[in-house]
């Protein structure tokens, strides 16, 4: 009999507490690139404010935004971290679920770096090298042909004679979009391939960004730690990392230059290093009144002490946003995205 009472009491607790489960801590999900920054801020927030430390999930920008657009209410998340801007389709999905009052917060910039094993050759890339090495099909003798390149020195004689193996982020990562846009598409244009494709009547947009599938462009769906493990086991591999991840692993990795520029916070802030992107988080205005501490957390995140130069985020590898003051105003005035 005692077993039965135990069960019923457990169920009773369940039933009564469901209604009363008002939340007092901020819940966040999204980009694994933003995750380390968000945890650093959450930790400092928990230490210095009376509110509890926010709970932060990762899982990728797309997954986070999808969760974010589930609706408004206690059992939906308050903030989605993203390493790219929200897409119109996602805004539409949000609106369908009743999440129409979004505030977009840009927290700073992150560089995307190309790094290889510390014991191997060093590389000086241009976007055109990456396009020629990784494009699925290239124009040869006036026709489209599968990419024949197997060694880096075949695409550019200045590069070392090393097998082409590249670990690029999978499509669920926001980083991939930036990689496609700023490296592969740029390389397609720079190398003149885009013009050649158009003269052939082929769809340049699609041919420029389709990567080869013969095992030389390996998509990594996990985190940068997986990319690092792949390079550990195949020292010919070149991986795509966030600047902060590289800076924490300078013992194992050496970084390649892009267009002759070494990636660093300075070169990314000045715009000399070409492959960088802004990082964002999106917050539901409707939750400001519902979840205590939500606005404090959002404002704390982009305060000068945290996201500004010399702050803990900059220490970790975030490139501070020169227009941080504007972001702070957007949050203070609760300016919605349109």
């Amino acid at each position: 009999m005692s077993r039965i009472t135990l069960t019923t009491s457990a169920l009773a607790i369940l039933a009564t507490s469901t209604a009363a489960a008002a939340r007092d801590q901020v819940q966040v999900a999204g980009s694994s690139t933003v995750l380390p920054y968000a945890t650093i801020v959450a930790e400092l927030f928990g230490e210095n404010f009376d509110h509890p430390t926010p709970v932060i999930e990762s899982g990728g920008s797309s997954a986070g935004l999808k969760k974010f657009c589930d609706g408004v209410g206690d059992n939906t998340i308050d903030i989605a971290n993203a390493s790219r801007r929200i897409k119109p389709a996602e805004i539409a999905a949000c609106e369908v679920a009743g999440v129409s009052e979004l505030i977009e917060v840009r927290i700073g910039y992150d560089g995307i770096v190309f790094a290889s094993d510390i014991g191997g050759e060093s590389f000086a890339f241009t976007p055109a090298d990456w396009y020629k090495a990784l494009a699925a099909e290239i124009v040869q003798d006036g026709r489209l042909a599968p990419n024949p390149a197997t060694m880096w020195n075949e695409v550019n004689p200045d590069l070392p004679a090393q097998e082409i193996v590249a670990f690029v982020p999978g499509t669920k990562h926001g980083t991939r979009e930036v990689f496609d846009l700023k490296v592969i598409e740029q390389g397609c244009k720079d190398s003149g391939a885009a013009a050649e494709l158009e003269s052939l009547g082929a769809d340049a947009g699609r041919h420029c960004t389709s990567l080869r599938t013969d095992g030389r462009a390996v998509e990594i769906d996990g985190d940068y730690t997986e990319t690092l493990a792949r390079i550990d086991s195949n020292t010919d591999g070149i991986g795509v990392f966030g600047l902060s991840f590289y800076e924490n692993n300078t013992v194992k990795l050496q970084v390649a230059t892009m267009n002759g520029v070494v990636p660093s916070a300075e070169t990314i802030a000045s715009g000399n290093y070409p492959v960088s992107r802004p990082l964002y988080f999106y917050v539901k205005q409707a939750h400001f009144d519902m979840v205590p501490g939500l606005k404090d957390y959002a404002e704390f995140f982009v305060s000068d002490d945290i996201a500004g130069p010399g702050g803990p985020l900059a220490d970790y590898g975030l490139v501070p946003d020169p227009e941080l003051a504007e972001t702070q105003e957007i949050l203070a005035d609760e300016v919605l995205m349109n």
Binding site: T7, I13, S17, A21, S32, P36, E43, V55, Y224, P312
Partner: protein, 443 residues
Amino acid sequence: MSDQAARPISLLKRSGHTARRHAAEARFRTCGLGAILIGLLALAMLLASVLGSGLGAFRQTYIHLPIHLDEAALDKSGNRDPKALKKVTTISYGKVIAASLNDTVLQAGIATQGLTKDDIAGIISREAPAQVRDMVLSDTDLIGKTIQVRLLANGRIDGYLKGRITAATAARDSNVSPAQLQLADVMMERGLMSLDFNAAFLTAPDASDQRPEAAGLGVAILGSAYMMLIVLALALPIGVAASIYLEEFAPKNGLTDLIEVNISNLAAVPSIVFGILGLAIFINFAGLPHSAPVVGGLVLTLMTLPTIIIATRASLKAVPPSIRQAAQGLGASRMQAVFHHVLPLAAPGILTGAILGLAQALGETAPLLLIGMVAFVREYPGAPPEGLFDPASALPVQIYNWTQRADPAFVERASGAIIVLLAFLLFMNAGAILLRRRFERRW
């Protein structure tokens, strides 16, 4: 015919057939032995790699330091107003600690060539200001005094003392310099720094990427314990009731056969499916909160139920029918026969099955992914029952999280967490064996 007559079979002489049979047996034994050796080798490799990289997590580098809690920096008004004191952030406390460390190093006459003030302060963990701030907020009389404290050292310094980082790798490391390592060496000699047992690893909450030295398993262990509590409270009674009914009372027909097949099938369903179910039913439909142990516990209950039902039915079946017949022959009802005689005899088997089911649930990550428990959680959940609705992490989730962190120091933490999880599993499985040995009856 004539051939057989010419070769009579002798019992004293080994025939070719016997020799072949013996050889086959010897071959089979070697194969079996080989299989066991391969298994043992794999286990030894796993243990060696986990213990090799994880034992370090149970020891931690601490800095012993007198800290002058400067009133001018921490309480400008001087009236110890709790509200004003709370406004003083960890950044101010960081400066106070850095100044005290600098003074201590200077007074001890330690050479600091090639080190800036920031470099010297860099050997202390970023967690330290929070430690000191908590101390001051809980006892405001400390302000203005000099107190002796034990602070965490930075993860890289800790890594150096544990042999993970060497002067050669530090030269290439952007987060630590060889000069800082030399300073650590000197401080170690002077007794300002020590490598002690790390109890906080089992009690402290998770920490961010910048503080691997402060990360602990406290929230994860609590979250796992809450979930196991729910699984035990729900899966055991439901599972046992279902099996008793199916085994002892239900008519044997097509419907019960169908149920039986389905239960066996559910036991083999991938655990992520239960996570999807949990998200749809418990969070989206029932409105339970994200990241809460209650949802995790319910999902794991669903996952563990088939295991418990199968084990319970097997142990009920193992009780000889003569027991039931004897009880009923003496006038007991069917229910009395089951509850007074069959169930007590089957109990050891049921408990073993339940413990094994719990152990399986304890190590499960996939279903928790979808219900938001794979997260960075720093706040301890409250006491049950309300605490069951607070966000928490779980042991296997914590391992998964740590393996994804950029700082290599988290590899040690992740392996340490694996050791803790293995210890819990070993403890539970040993309990199951003990119960079986103790109470099992054979007929």
